[in-house]
């Protein structure tokens, strides 16, 4: 059993004290980020990247992934107790969970959310372990034209799925690709789009952009309303958080269905945890024999979506690790971090750095246990962070953003650039341009251009190469069909809207 031996090695790596510490730190910070409204997982991951410099890539990935799936656990807490979704993927949880709190079953809702997240998170890792290596084996035979096609498909899907308007998503992608071109062209040595500034010759670091448009812009947006909710919570004992038999019976199928829905939604670029939780909610409502219970505190509506968003976070690691193509803002940021540590995710990762993958898988098993152990008894403690007023928290996040960006190159011009991207990100939020496509394009831009160039070198400059090889042709046809379908659907929907 090759996989078992690799997993064993992964565990020996993940159980090293330093990695256990990183795992614990990651899931704790992740839970805090999940609990805090106004601090998203993408911002949290971006802000902690500077702390991973100079560390082993395995430890870094363990830390960053811990934040990612930890945030999915934490997001449920405030949704259930106070109707404040900490993350967009917990919106559906708030609908049913807060109703349950009003009926005095908030503890059970928290309990089922934690157990569901644990089950889905663990099964999600099993699926990750099963699918990722075989997908990587397929992907290793890909040539540059195939890669180019996969990347274009990822850009199109992320653009189409993350925002309200496909056109704005595509614009966001194009802007991100253009940003990735800034600096010296590695092939010709020509400086592109640097406006004569030496600071830009090395290109724009994705981290500067990510912290700017996620963390800084998030704060500008929240400052608008001066929102700082300090909700009241009643203390809850561990006993109250154990769901009763009836509640378990009603939840177990939603948890399992949510896991499957979540994992596969997570694998798709652009879909991710939020869509997974909405899908799961819709499915539970439609298969339920008592759909009238939904909206009035149905525990199925907590169990399904909470499981789905955790499984989705495992699923979304599949394309990032096997193809080197992240499907969301958070995974794009993680991938950028890995690249800074000289580990390039993709099919070769499994051959060249198998310990990164297996160490991560093992740490995710451990992390899920830690989260369950942390969440049940310590929910009261986590909720206390909401006592820190947002006025202070926002100032602290801004100060951390500045020092984090500074630590990249020890350069204040990076910090200014971050400030500019903070304003850009704020404008994007106001004008409803989605941000994940931009970060994704920035992270993948250099690779995309290289694939395009190498492909066209193979074909002596003829773009026909993308339409004569089977895989790129199939991908481009699928993307074209998808956009035709979207276009047809919106044309058909027009008379209804007007």
């Amino acid at each position: 059993m090759d996989a078992l031996a690799s997993l064993g090695q992964g565990f020996s790596l993940a159980l090293q004290p330093i990695n256990l510490l990183y795992c614990a730190l990651g899931v704790t910070v992740g839970t805090l980020i999940g609990v805090l409204p106004g601090v998203g997982p993408a911002s949290g991951i971006a802000l902690l990247i500077p702390f991973t410099f100079g560390h082993d890539p395995v430890s870094a990935l363990i830390l960053l992934c811990g934040i990612y799936y930890g945030a999915m656990y934490g997001g449920s807490t405030t949704s259930i107790l106070a109707n404040i979704p900490g993350e967009s993927s917990s919106v559906m949880t708030a609908v049913e969970g807060f109703e349950m709190t009003k009926q005095g079953r908030g503890g059970a809702a928290l309990g089922i959310a934690a157990f569901g997240s644990f089950i889905a998170g663990t099964l999600g890792v099993v699926a990750l372990m099963a699918f990722a290596p075989s997908l990587a084996r397929v992907a290793i035979s890909f040539g540059e034209p195939e890669y180019f096609a996969v990347m274009v498909a990822a850009f199109c899907l992320v653009s189409a799925l993350t925002g309200k308007s496909v056109v704005k998503g595509l614009i966001s992608t194009v802007l991100g690709l253009l940003l990735s071109l800034v600096g010296i062209d590695p092939v010709s040595g020509i400086a592109r789009f640097t406006a004569g500034r030496i600071e830009l010759l090395d290109g724009i670091s994705f981290l500067v952009v990510a912290i700017g448009i996620f963390a800084v812009a998030e704060i500008f947006e929240n400052v608008e309303t001066l929102l700082s909710p300090v909700p009241r919570f009643t203390r809850m004992s561990l006993r109250q958080m154990l769901p009763n038999l009836e509640e378990w019976r009603r939840s177990i199928w939603p948890i399992l269905r949510g896991t499957v829905i979540g994992f596969f939604t997570g694998v798709l670029p652009g879909a991710g945890a939020t869509i997974a939780s909405f899908l799961s909610y819709a499915v539970e409502k439609s298969v339920s024999r008592h759909p009238e219970r939904f909206g009035k505190g149905a525990i199925e509506g907590v169990a399904g979506p909470e499981s789905a968003n955790n499984a989705a976070s495992a699923g979304s690691l599949v394309p990032m690790l096997t193809l080197g193509i992240p499907g969301s803002g958070s995974t794009a940021i993680m991938m950028g971090a890995l690249m800074m540590l000289n580990v390039t995710p993709g099919p070769l990762l499994f051959r060249e750095h198998p310990q990164v993958f297996w160490g991560l898988v093992a740490s995710m098993y451990i992390g899920n246990v830690m989260l369950l152990a942390l969440n049940l008894p310590l929910i009261g403690a986590f909720v206390q962070v909401l006592r820190i007023p947002y006025s202070t928290l926002s100032a602290v996040i801004l100060a951390l953003s500045c020092v984090g960006v500074f630590s990249l190159n020890y350069s204040l011009s990076d910090v200014w650039l971050m400030f500019i991207f903070g304003l850009v990100g704020y404008a994007m939020r106001k004008l409803e341009f989605p941000m994940p496509p931009m970060v994704l394009a920035l992270v993948l831009g250099t690779r995309t251009e290289r694939s395009l160039r190498l492909s066209l070198l193979l074909s002596d400059g003829s773009p026909a190469i993308f339409f004569t090889r089977p895989i790129p042709l199939a991908i481009f046809v699928a993307v074209a069909l998808y956009f035709l379908y979207r276009g047809w659907r919106s044309l058909r929907a027009r008379p209804v809207q007007a």
């Binding site: 702390f51 100079g54 309200k164 308007s165 056109v167 704005k168 595509l170 614009i171 194009v174 802007l175 690709l177 253009l178 071109l181 062209d185 092939v187 010709s188 020509i190 592109r192 789009f193 800084v216 704060i219 500008f220 947006e221 400052v223 608008e224 309303t225 001066l226 007023p389 947002y390 006025s391 202070t392 926002s394 100032a395 602290v396 801004l398 100060a399 951390l400 500045c402 020092v403 500074f406 630590s407 204040l412 910090v415 200014w416 400030f419 704020y426 004008l431 409803e432 995309t448 251009e449 395009l452 160039r453 066209l456 070198l457 074909s459 002596d460 400059g461 027009r494 809207q497 007007a498």
Partner: protein, 155 residues
């Protein structure tokens, strides 16, 4: 007629796309296959076309649902000022780091952000500022990042 926000943005982005196309023409062509200007030119063109759609959309009767304007829950006059104020403070902070050093400017920034933007009392702002400045300073110094010390700490 009144332009929608999307149209104004579309015009700016279309101009940007045209500019990118123009600049990328100045890069030398590749001998075989694409040169350094190929992808930028294509992207510039794509940006121009997509942005033009934003400008044209209302004329095509497609403006509904494009920019669903959400009314701000709080008084909208105040909210704009808050963002401008927060941005100015952040800019002043970044400028001050190089002059006053990281620790002192961080204390002042956290204090100013709490008091001026959020109108909270100065005491917690000052305490948090000192805490954050000291925490970040020691943590990042330990990580080996040479933060600007400023004249206070003689750096």
């Amino acid at each position: 007629m009144r332009f929608e926000a999307d149209q104004v943005v579309g015009l700016v982005l279309a101009a940007l796309g045209a500019g990118v196309m123009l600049v990328s023409r100045s890069y030398p062509a590749g001998r075989v296959g694409p040169g350094p200007g190929t992808l930028p030119f294509l992207l510039g063109a794509a940006l121009f076309l997509l942005a033009s759609y934003l400008v044209a959309a209302p004329f095509l009767g497609r403006s509904r649902g494009m920019a669903a304007r959400k009314e701000e829950p709080a008084g909208s006059g105040r909210s704009w000022l808050n963002v401008v104020l927060a941005a100015i403070l952040l800019a002043a902070y970044i400028g001050a780091i190089g002059v006053l050093g990281y620790p002192l400017s961080t204390v002042l920034f956290v204090l100013a952000h709490t008091v001026l933007v959020y109108r909270r009392s100065w005491k917690p702002g000052l305490l948090w500022g000192i805490g954050v400045a000291a925490g970040c300073y020691f943590l990042f110094s330990w990580l080996g990042v040479p933060l600007p010390k400023g004249f206070l700490l003689g750096g």
